[in-house]
């Protein structure tokens, strides 16, 4: 144990670009995968603005030389993190990660366990459930531009969540996961591997937070979300990193026949946050809802890239992304609906709406379509505008001061997205987070 600990401490000081440490106890096959991924990371070129997948992005944010593996937690820090990890009142299960260390796991009820639900750390799952793990772990290539960073993640990931919901099991209460960045220039490689079997149902909410409010950090996460036949998966991300954090997240969702997947990404924190959402509809009757809300202020840049990939006929997808931009903030939306050959009877929708609150804010929208089948109904829309003067006037005539009226209008604008979730408790929590961002950031 002592030997291991020393090694870990050596690792902690190391910059992430020095490569994966050898001290972690993983199966050999996984180690081999990591080494191969690292080679891939090194050989792939760093994106430039000329790459279509990085158009409009300020690629200067992608300098990773600064970041290291992060320090070891002190008892004090551990206690603070546990205390601050306040999420929903009622959950079916909970995991808390600091850096990439699992520091707490609230086990789900015995009954769910008896019915075969597996809720454990990634490193345990790759030993105890190797077959499941190897089938689904990063089985989809990162197709939205971040192949290099997906490789980085695969090379350096050291923990994460594994959740398996067997056939017919419905977990009513949400599963809650916290990821904390701790220390200056620290990094984290969050991972969630969620597999649902036929007719299963589950909701997961992930919180991304920083212990220190004003130090730089780096997060590079990958989620594999698998919605089996007839299953229903809801995934919520509440991204609230500290304001100097650079964050990349690549989510890949697979929707089987008659299944549904809903995701809602709330973007509040970080300096630069890129979020890639790939949703593949591979079976008839599948449905995918992609939702996002971003409140961008100061110099924040939110970079959302999405792909609604209709592989099978008779599938539906619906995307709604809303951005509120203030100060010098920038948002980028690059979305694509792709209807593969033979994916007839596709019904796909995509809408992005930007609300600009200042003269220096900039919204970039690239809503795209690629249709290689017929008998489809595909529409998309993108709008950029500002607060309607009439609405503002109406509120003012009722004695509401301008700043309050503006905030009401903006939250009302964003709430259309939050309302689409059918989990009142989660919606309420997201509203609180949005409110906090508006209340805090007036400095």
């Amino acid at each position: 144990m002592t030997k291991n600990e020393t090694a870990t401490i050596e690792n902690q000081a190391a910059p992430i670009l020095s490569g994966p440490g050898e001290s972690r106890e993983f199966p050999d096959w996984f180690r081999d995968q990591q080494r191969a991924a690292w080679k891939q990371f090194e050989s792939l070129p760093t994106p430039t603005r000329k790459d279509q997948a990085w158009r409009f992005t300020n690629v200067n944010f992608l300098d990773l030389s600064l970041f290291n593996y992060g320090g070891k937690l002190t008892e004090q820090e551990r206690a603070t993190i546990l205390e601050q990890s306040r999420g929903l009142e009622e959950v079916a299960g909970r995991m808390i990660f600091a850096g990439d260390e699992l520091i707490e796991r609230d086990v789900i009820s015995d009954q769910l366990k008896k019915r075969g639900v597996i809720f454990q750390s990634l490193e345990r799952a790759m030993v105890e459930h190797a077959d499941l793990f190897r089938t689904y772990f990063m089985s989809q290539p990162a197709r939205l531009g971040s192949a290099k960073f997906a490789a980085l993640h695969q090379a350096l990931v050291s923990s994460g969540t594994f959740l398996y919901v067997p056939r017919g099991v419905e977990i009513e209460l949400p599963i809650e996961i916290f990821h904390w960045l701790n220390g200056k220039n620290a990094s984290a490689f969050p991972h969630l591997l969620l597999v649902t079997d036929e007719l299963a149902k589950v909701t997961v909410i992930e919180h991304f937070r920083s212990v220190n409010e004003h130090v730089p950090g780096f997060a590079c996460g990958v989620n594999d979300l698998v919605s089996g036949p007839g299953a229903k998966v809801t995934y919520v991300c509440a991204q609230n990193w500290a304001d100097k954090v650079i964050a990349l997240q690549m989510n890949s969702t697979t929707v089987d026949h008659d299944a549904s997947a809903m995701s809602l990404n709330l973007h509040l924190g970080s300096r630069y946050s890129r979020f890639e959402s790939l949703s593949r509809l591979i079976g008839e009757g599948g449905r995918s809802d992609l939702l996002a809300v971003a409140v961008a202020k100061h110099d924040q840049e939110f970079d959302a890239r999405t792909l609604q990939d209709h592989v099978s006929p008779h599938t539906a997808s619906d995307l709604l992304y809303k951005n509120a931009l203030d100060d010098r903030a920038r948002t980028i939306f690059g979305g694509l609906i792709r209807v593969e050959p033979h994916a007839h009877f596709t019904d796909a929708y995509q809408k992005v709406r930007n609300l600009l609150l200042s003269d220096d804010a900039e919204a970039n929208s690239m809503p795209g379509l690629e249709i290689l089948a017929d008998n489809v109904r595909c529409t998309h829309g993108a709008t950029s505008g500002q607060i309607n003067e009439d609405e503002l006037f109406y509120l003012r005539t009722r004695g509401i001061p301008v700043p309050v009226a503006q905030r009401l209008i903006v939250t009302g604008f964003l709430d259309e997205v939050v309302q689409r979730l059918d989990h009142p408790a989660i919606s309420e929590r997201l509203r609180q987070l949005i409110e906090e961002k508006f209340a805090n950031n007036r400095d």
């Binding site: 000329k50 790459d51 279509q52 158009r55 409009f56 050959p341 033979h342 007839h344 930007n354 600009l356 609150l357 200042s358 003269d359 220096d360 804010a361 900039e362 919204a363 970039n364 929208s365 690239m366 809503p367 795209g368 379509l369 690629e370 249709i371 290689l372 089948a373 017929d374 008998n375 489809v376 109904r377 595909c378 529409t379 998309h380 829309g381 993108a382 709008t383 950029s384 505008g385 500002q386 607060i387």
Partner: protein, 469 residues
Amino acid sequence: MKTETSAVDIDRNKGDFFYPEAHVRDAGAGLSERTVHYISDVKEDPDWLREFRLRGLKTFLAKPLPTHWASKDLEAIDFDKIRYYLSPGTEAKRSWDEVPDDIKRTFERLGIPEQERKFLAGVEAQFDSEAVYSNIKKAVGEQGVIFVGSTEGLKNYPEIFRKWFGKVIPIADNKFSALNSAVFSGGSFIYVPPGVKVKHPLQAYFRINAENFGQFERTLIIADEGSEVTYMEGCTAPKFNTPTLHSAVVELVALKGAKIQYITVQNWASNVFNLVTKRGLAHENAEVKWIDCNIGSRLTMKYPGVIMKGRKARGEVLSIALANDGQHQDTGAKMIHAADETTSNIISKSISIGKGRATYRGLVHVPKHLKNCKNNTECDALLINATSRTDTYPAITVRGTGNAVQHEASVSQVSSEQIFYMQQRGLTEAQAMSLSVNGFVNDLVRQFPMEYSVELKRLIELEMEGSVG
């Protein structure tokens, strides 16, 4: 069944014939500094233009093909096999009688200009590189309107020409504008004096007639304060087995309060690469409107743009694209807002038939601190067959609080109920399909001048033949 579908009597092979080449001036195949000097020598270019061409060549050679976003099909162009300059060796003709007989026959087969002459104020027909025929009706000339070939414009009106030439589309705008800058010949130069409203549309026809020969015309239209002009170009080309390149540059300048309308019906043969840069500059209260119709070619890449430089300037692009087997229509629009209260409108309709692919690519840019700018974009795509493909790739950047931008696109197919309804009333499936497609583009086609909308409807019917059943 097939014969029933051609309700309109049109000869499908109309663009397929050609006459033996008799080119006096020929720069040979391939592109080098020598080619550029050769062209400059033949055309007796002033020094500044020779330098401009050389800069164009340098930029062209330095820039990579834009295949990181555009079709890989571009790699099929063999730039070394293309002949960059050809001329029949004849000077521009003033009267119809002086045009050589075989060239005259070519135009007659196309139905121009004899039958349409009545409609048109002037005809500028380009045969390969040089204008062989140009004529402006007396009335237009008396108003002070200049309508000549680009070479003549450059020689006779250098003070107007040079002021705007290459200013709307700089050499380095893209690889193909650089190529055009290096080897351009032909095209039109138009100047409309202040307050003059040209009643009849000015028209030019272009053809490609030499195998492996690229056509690089350059058009510059300047509408002075408060003037109005409509320009129409239509293209047909004989079919050849090896790819042919057409790479034009068209620059429009609408000064204060002026209006320019530029109409294109593009029907190149299906082995032509049609890579065209078109852009207009609209000053205060001015309006630039592109009506762009793409039926032919193997690959068209064309995104007419408007830079709205003055207050209350307006820009508009109406685009129709029809992509059949083996064709890729990559078209769209660029709207650059650069002043307050500028408005732009893009309406694009595309139809994909068989294995055809239609792509809309758009750019809308509203920079900082502008007030009350508005853009509206609508793109609708219609898919006829299961193998047809359509894409939409818009990019919209908006800064600041004073502006409103909206973009909408939809993809659909002809509804089977509609077809069934028409079949019940005695139409064949093909006729019904053709009628539906014409209905889909009808609201746009109605905005075209009459003779063009008739021609367009016929072209669509022609393309629809044999696409169903």
